[in-house]
Symmetry: C2
DNA sequence: GCCGACATGCTTGCATGCAAGTATGGCTTG
DNA sequence: CAAGCCATACTTGCATGCAAGCATGTCGGC
């Protein structure tokens, strides 16, 4: 995949790196490509919270008309990631601590339930072990990108083992808020070994069917963002809303 | 509005404290009205599963252009309620038993967690009692509409007491699938007394802080749809997908 | 110098026209 | 009569033009 290579030739406003979508393969509908590009940019903070986005600007930058842009914005606004004010403008939603807490609550609740459910079913943790092995490599290589990628794979696989694979999509919807916070945590690399160890223990407990210790660990694991968020708000006040 | 800080990126240097109320709520955007109308029609089965919907037809019927229709369809398609096939047509998504199960799982998980959370906080069940009283009246009047309305109020209030009121919106997103199934259940009126009794017990257990019995009851209460769905699929096969 | 009014440029909301593709009914042909 | 072909009417995807509204820069008056 072509990483965001070129800087903005028009001048450094708020929007910097958005990969044009015309290079993408195939006949996917443009609105889907625009949506993927935008939500990815929002999650990676390439579109920082509070930065203004303009339909015409995005249309020019992504090389499409305003129509697909508008439909993607409609979806993102319904998801709470964009704030659209008619006749004034659209901006990336600021991070709100209550929303982060609620997103963490949703994720924690669903992941704990999925773990409990997976423990009550026949399960094959071989795929989880393979993901863990790749994650170990990512940790040893100090590669946060690959670590996050394997992290998502691992949690998605747990939902698959629970028998409700699509619930992961709901988690994804709430997780964008958490990912934006996590992006602010520059020292996440040093935490990776600890998170990796927790993942390993979670897989062990799942394989053993140890519900009690498992749900406890999954809960603390998925709730850790709440400990970081307030400090990050003090560190990056411009990205957060004053509740 | 307290959201005024989100407008700052557009350059309003002055104090935005005195924003008159007339501009904001006066004219809803057409896309919102179309979305509400469509999702309501889908939930009430006025747009039955599998029925085709045409952008031009809806535009004529609702008296707007295709643009707001398309944006509403985009949101509903992202929610899994509409099936859009490019160059062929759009139809109301069929009911899929696995999706119903997953929606029930999501709702059950979140409601159980909210109940548990509400039990661990200071709580005032007065509003719940008031809702129960209105629900009792609806049951005695054999008014399913009012029963469903109070049902939603009650569950939303529990989320409010949990401290995570917006989580209810996530539940709402999944609940449309369950509501469509419930609409097929013509004999829901006779079940209302039982459901009302369960609601009363849930409120009692919440007031008493009885977590163990409470989560058990909430779980069975929110999972009841799964018992009905297979039979309803046999009764209305045209509305369901052959998995 | 200060303040107010106007014009201009921006924003999003909406309507419409065109393009590309598919299903279908009727016609032609064997 | 049956089977294949083609025109037509439909669908959605996308681009574009216009309308309404707000913020701001500029100019004129005091």
């Amino acid at each position: 995949m072509s990483e965001a290579s070129e800087l903005d030739p028009f001048g450094s406003k708020g929007v910097t790196a958005l990969t044009p979508i015309d290079s993408a393969p195939a006949r996917w509908r443009k609105v889907d490509r625009v949506y993927d590009e935008l939500i990815s940019a929002i999650r990676d903070l390439r579109l920082p919270p509070g930065s203004p986005v303009s339909e015409s600007d995005l249309a020019q930058r992504l090389g499409v008309s305003r129509t697909p842009i508008r439909e993607a914005i409609t979806r993102l606004a319904a998801q709470g990631l964009l704030h659209v004010v008619p006749q004034i403008g659209t901006s990336v939603a600021l991070i709100k601590l209550p929303e982060v807490e609620e997103a963490a609550f949703i994720r924690c609740s669903l992941e704990v339930s999925a773990f409990r459910r997976a423990c009550a079913r026949p399960r094959d943790v071989a795929e989880l072990r393979r993901i863990l092995e790749r994650q170990r490599a990512a940790v040893e290589a100090h590669d946060p990108e690959r670590f996050f990628a394997t992290d998502e794979e691992l949690h998605r696989e747990i939902f698959r083992l629970s028998g409700y694979p699509n619930v992961w999509n709901v988690v994804l919807g709430s997780k964008v808020q958490l990912d934006r916070v996590r992006r602010l945590y520059t020292a996440h690399a040093v935490r990776s070994p600890m998170l990796f160890d927790e993942h390993t223990r979670i897989v062990d407990l799942l394989e053993a069917g140890d519900v009690e210790n498992g749900v406890e660990l999954v809960a603390t694991h998925t709730n850790r963002v709440n400990l970081l968020a307030p400090g990050l708000k003090a560190e990056h006040p411009a990205f957060f809303a004053e509740d």
